[in-house]
Symmetry: C2
Subunit: 719 residues, 2 copies
């Protein structure tokens, strides 16, 4: 039945399959399906190897990364791929092997209890966490569906009764604490349970998957679609888990579309499933997911989840820009949806995906803050300023409201540590998140946002953070002066923070400037720290640092500060600058900190007994004993270093002066370049789009409407 | 006249050139010449931009990387490319611009004295060091040659008399301290002077270039060919400078071949020029030059020097394996040699270059040590063990005899810091070598070789090192147990060192093991330090380290030790292990150090006031108060980490035990794997290839001939 779903979505022609059934015959595979042909060849290679290795269904023992864990993962992939290959080729070897595997599980599964290596997670049976059991079921059902009809009745019965049914019941009735949550683990469970229901013709299972165990609709798949995505398709936990969560959403949605077409699932909630796929693509840079919240930085669109998502979304929309994503992925899935996508890609129907500026609202109503993406071109790897003004992101959220990141052609420039985890590497805390994920990666000081009194936002309590949204006050997504303005007054008791981040294109500069105006308003006296985590090698600075050259202390004792080595502490009156180099480009960070500020150069990696942390540089602007503080900063990418031709241009910054003042209800910043050119930007307190503002710069009138204005001071317009 | 040389070498057909002369006409460029067509298009783009920018010949002022420096560099490229484009297209705009540039130099040059920014280097006139003036002349003469015949006589006279002639005289008669050396700067000078001589028909200049200012042959180009390369074509200063030096050698050789064919320059000294080109290609990994001695690590075969070298060597030999190198380069040169190469590449004549194991003898007689390259396959980026047993490498040499490096598909694994330099980045010591190049990058402790009593080899005096070769005792380049055995007893007073490095392929292991047996024999009591500099993130270790978690001291006070932060010091009885991860692979380093040894985990970057150093990890095995010491180590690459599919295999080392003993005139090492398999290797004291050896392992006879033997202990051959 899954088969009919796949056919319904993709309308694939199977006529060409003899070419794959007899590859030794030398029949040339049509170039139109080359991506798919590669997929089939890859699957044959893997499944043929699995067949040679024989059936191996071990008694569960190991945690993530261990031998039995990896073997059960290989097995569900073999069941999925073997089933698809049988459909595509008719080769009975695939049928026989998938059958043998499933019968081995029929012997093993009914006797299993709680997994012996279960730790903090909800225990599974085949795996240490039930999440993996759900993933097993989603894959196994899809593979089994391709052979079930041709199995002897007795085999079918054994597999139905001893594998699919009990797994579906384990993940539904026996696991209310999983399936009745609003969480991606529940989506995987619902998908497994629902696909099982469709396969077995068990409406009860389907309804529990769709509407929750009590079938009220207060939980279940549809409620997850209502609550886990914002109206823009942004997933509450952030880009990394958006990727992870996507697969059960799209796979189950495709099954619903096939079996319950009247539900019009792809149109549900204003097409939220498709919006989620599009948002997942948009929250990448050069194909890699933006690493806010818990996120491993090497995850890209080149993952199983996105192969499924892109193929299914293309099947549902025929939007040719999905094809350009598939082209970058260089992979697709073995299903008919994948085959159709590969054919259309080979037929040159692809159109470029346009990576536009977006403000992705967060929360079920889209009003609990936003993740703002500012881009100057539509390219995959061009300049990208991210303003992280979303909600907490549940247990995987970081304490980093008003955080920002910057990427361009050289990669991540202003960085986020992401997660502290070595996925599935047993020696590293069993492959789970390492302790430093809490003590460093989630800490506020590990992010590019204001830290008050060396504390984490919300006291480091994510459930508190979950209740306190960020206010996205305004966002300007077009024109040469894009911006985000956001605020939060609940992250620290008694301190309100407001941050304007501007991505400014300047004529004659190859790269845009980022301007950052951050204001803290608090009673009493505070320590304000504004870190910048960056990637690259320090070139020079005009700050006079007292360096710790021969003995290196740590910065603090808690809340992430214990993980920072101090390389030096310095001061400078007026504008200060730090320049570094990454790849072929130079970056200068210009600062107008509050009066009396000091600059701390630091590096992550202290108090790290198990070598779990990467060692990465940070510059912290610190002011002590202040009630209010304004930090004005500017990031200037410049120049070019070409090792091959040994040429270097513009290794020196071009921004030579900055002046900030507060006047007429606005922050006014003037920026002067070495060649004498100047411009001013203004950020108004009143963010109403129609509000009109007026001030004077250099004796010249400066008028604008809306939150942000800009004036070129180079042109001779003064009377 | 240079033109005729080029034609003679490449026998290019010019018939197709109208296609380039009228690109707007839409004439399709033949696919056979696509690489060359791209080269022409790139040059047109650059030279057209230069024409639009106008003639800019500034009075010299800045050091490397500065404005006038970069402008004069641009100008010689424009002269070279503009000349070629005029030949190829007949477009007078190119003729006019090259003429205008040269006439501007004719106005400027005669009035110039010593460059104002000259520092330690020999001062140039256009540039801060005369080396750059030589490079200017080599390029300018080649461009000028293409237009000289069609210039009005008066222009020709002015350029000859005010640019070419005085530059050639400055670089010859007026700079004996440059041109009469045996050094790559002298080769550049000789090439510039010689090419000028051929162009002007000035035999005196040519002879001075070929035979030295006194024409005795004691210096000059031919003598440089005798002394700067070993008989294997290895260049004395190492791979990085081999690359740099190559261009004047091949360009001048090509001119000699054209103008003095009777010299048979490409056959000279058993075809040393071609051997040098081949050796330059062989001393790369994944296209990047092996960074021994002063070397910037991002230099690859994708450099101007190698575009010329490959095109000229292909023209001289028609060896189709050069074409596969050009294919990887993706570039060629604008000369007829480049055109022919591009055509043959497009005609699919390329054959793969075989990156074989080699022992490149060092020194003019090839007997002053060697650079040994051990490879297990012929691929560009496969496993590569480098044993650095060469001579000093003159002023650019490092104090690192018996050093080793290891590379594989993940990149450099056992690393060399290379040079401490930010080429042409003015803020970094004017773009020159930074002070830490001497204090760290050249220091013995910065390399993977034995350091005695915290001193540099040869007391840190390179001229002393230059007199003291390494003894390459034996090398085995084939079979599953490749090896290098070398020794030196002059690096430290009273201490003899001998090191055997083996690259061992084992059935069932995807990657070869490196085995390292290093013996120091000295009188008195010494501190022996054996560092391993590696690339990757530490996973775990069975060493019990006392960690410096919250305050980090430095290891020493001089000879590079002052640049090492100490992360921890530990000990362990018996075999010790450190495992790290790089890219998709794990690496375990297994050690059997001398009794009483401690392990020091360290990182470069201490005492670095200007942030000139990268921060890279090192593990040091240290034994104190010993006369003799044997360090036995084994590097085991293993497993696979795939972030995309979230699969991890074999993250644990498979080598479970090692046992070393000295018996029957040999070091005997047995290695045991976790699955119980065992093998033994033996390295005999007597390295005679015909010597027969016999010992007993596990009660079994172990016989071999030559320096190295191996016995598989898993097979049941015992009676």
């Amino acid at each position: 039945m899954t088969r009919s779903l796949a056919l319904l979505i993709a309308a694939a022609t199977l006529a060409s399959w003899p070419a794959f059934a007899q590859p030794e015959g030398g029949a040339a595979v049509s170039v139109q399906a080359s991506l798919f042909a590669e997929e089939v060849a890859r699957a044959r290679h893997e499944v043929d190897a699995a067949i040679r290795a024989g059936v191996n269904v071990p008694v569960p023992r190991d945690p993530g990364g261990g031998v039995t864990h990896e073997q059960h993962k290989r097995n569900y992939r073999t069941i999925f791929e073997g089933g698809q290959l049988y459909r595509l080729t008719g080769d009975r070897r695939y049928l026989d092997h998938v059958r043998a595997l499933l019968l081995a599980y029929a012997d093993l599964y009914p006797g299993l209890g709680r997994h012996p290596a279960a730790a903090n997670q909800v225990a599974g049976r085949l795996f240490w966490q039930s999440l993996n059991d759900s993933v097993f079921l989603v894959n196994a059902v899809q593979g089994y569906a391709e052979i079930r009809d041709v199995l002897p009745a007795a085999d079918r019965q054994r597999i139905d009764d001893n594998v699919i049914c009990p797994m579906a019941h384990f993940l539904s009735d026996e696991s209310p604490e999983v399936i009745d949550r609003i969480h991606n683990h529940a989506t995987w469970a619902a998908a497994g349970v629902g696909l099982s229901g469709y396969l077995l013709g068990d409406r009860d299972l389907v309804d529990k998957a769709l509407l929750g165990l009590d079938k009220s609709g207060k939980t279940g798949f549809l409620r997850q679609l209502d609550l886990l995505f914002s109206p823009d398709g942004y997933y509450a936990e952030g880009p990394y888990y958006q990727r992870y969560a996507l697969q059960p959403f799209v796979v189950f949605a495709a099954a619903i579309a096939a079996h319950d077409p009247d539900r019009e699932i792809f149109a549900y909630r204003d097409a939220i499933v498709l919006k989620a796929v599009r948002a997942a693509i948009d929250v990448t840079h050069n194909g890699y997911f933006i690493p806010v919240n818990d996120a491993i930085r090497d995850k890209s669109l080149r993952t199983e989840e996105l192969y499924h998502a892109v193929a299914i979304a293309y099947g549902a929309t025929k939007d040719p820009t999905f094809l350009s994503i598939a082209d970058w992925q260089g992979r697709t899935v073995l299903t008919p949806a994948g085959e159709q996508l590969a054919g259309d890609l080979a037929a040159r129907k692809a159109q470029p995906w346009r990576f536009d500026s977006r403000a992705l609202g967060d929360g079920p109503d889209g009003k609990q803050g936003a993740l703002v993406l500012l881009r100057t071109d539509g390219g995959r790897d061009g300049p990208l300023l991210v303003a992280k003004n979303s909600v907490q992101g549940m247990g995987h959220g970081h304490f980093d409201r008003l955080n920002w990141l910057y990427f361009d052609e050289t990669g991540p420039v202003v960085t986020d540590y992401g997660a502290a985890r070595f996925l599935n590497v047993e020696a590293k805390h069993g492959g789970r998140y390492v302790p430093e994920n809490n003590s460093w990666a989630k800490a506020s000081i590990a992010h590019n946002t204001l830290v008050v009194d060396e504390q984490n936002q919300f006291g480091g309590k994510w459930k508190v953070g979950e209740e306190r949204p960020t206010q996205q006050l305004a966002a300007g997504l077009a024109g040469p002066t894009r911006y985000s303005i956001a605020a939060i007054d609940t992250a620290y008791k008694g301190v309100a923070m407001r941050r304007a981040l501007l991505l400014v294109e300047v004529e004659g500069l190859a790269n845009p400037l980022t301007i950052d105006i951050l204001r803290a308003t608090g009673g009493g006296r505070h320590v304000y720290d504004l870190p910048l985590h960056f990637s690259g090698h320090i070139i020079d600075s005009d700050i006079d640092f007292a360096r710790h050259l021969a003995e290196r202390p740590v910065l603090g004792t808690a809340n992430g500060y214990q993980h920072l080595w101090v390389d030096g502490v310095g001061a400078r009156a007026g504008k200060a600058r730090l320049t570094w180099m990454q790849g072929s480009r130079f970056y200068s960070y210009h600062m107008l900190p509050p009066a009396g500020a000091r600059f701390i150069l630091a590096e992550s990696g202290a108090n790290d007994p198990q070598f779990n942390l990467r060692r990465e540089p940070a510059l912290i602007q610190r002011v002590e004993g202040a009630a209010d503080a304004v930090f004005v900063s500017l990031l200037e990418p410049h120049g070019k270093y070409d090792a091959s031709s040994e040429s270097v241009v513009a290794s020196k910054a071009r921004v030579s002066a900055m002046d900030h003042r507060r006047a007429d209800g606005a922050d006014i910043l003037t920026v002067t370049f070495a060649d004498g050119r100047r411009f001013a930007v203004a950020v108004a307190e009143d963010v109403a789009p129609t509000a009109r503002h007026r001030t004077t710069v250099d004796g010249r009138a400066f008028e604008w409407t809306g939150p942000v204005g800009r004036l070129d001071l180079s042109r001779e317009t003064r009377k």
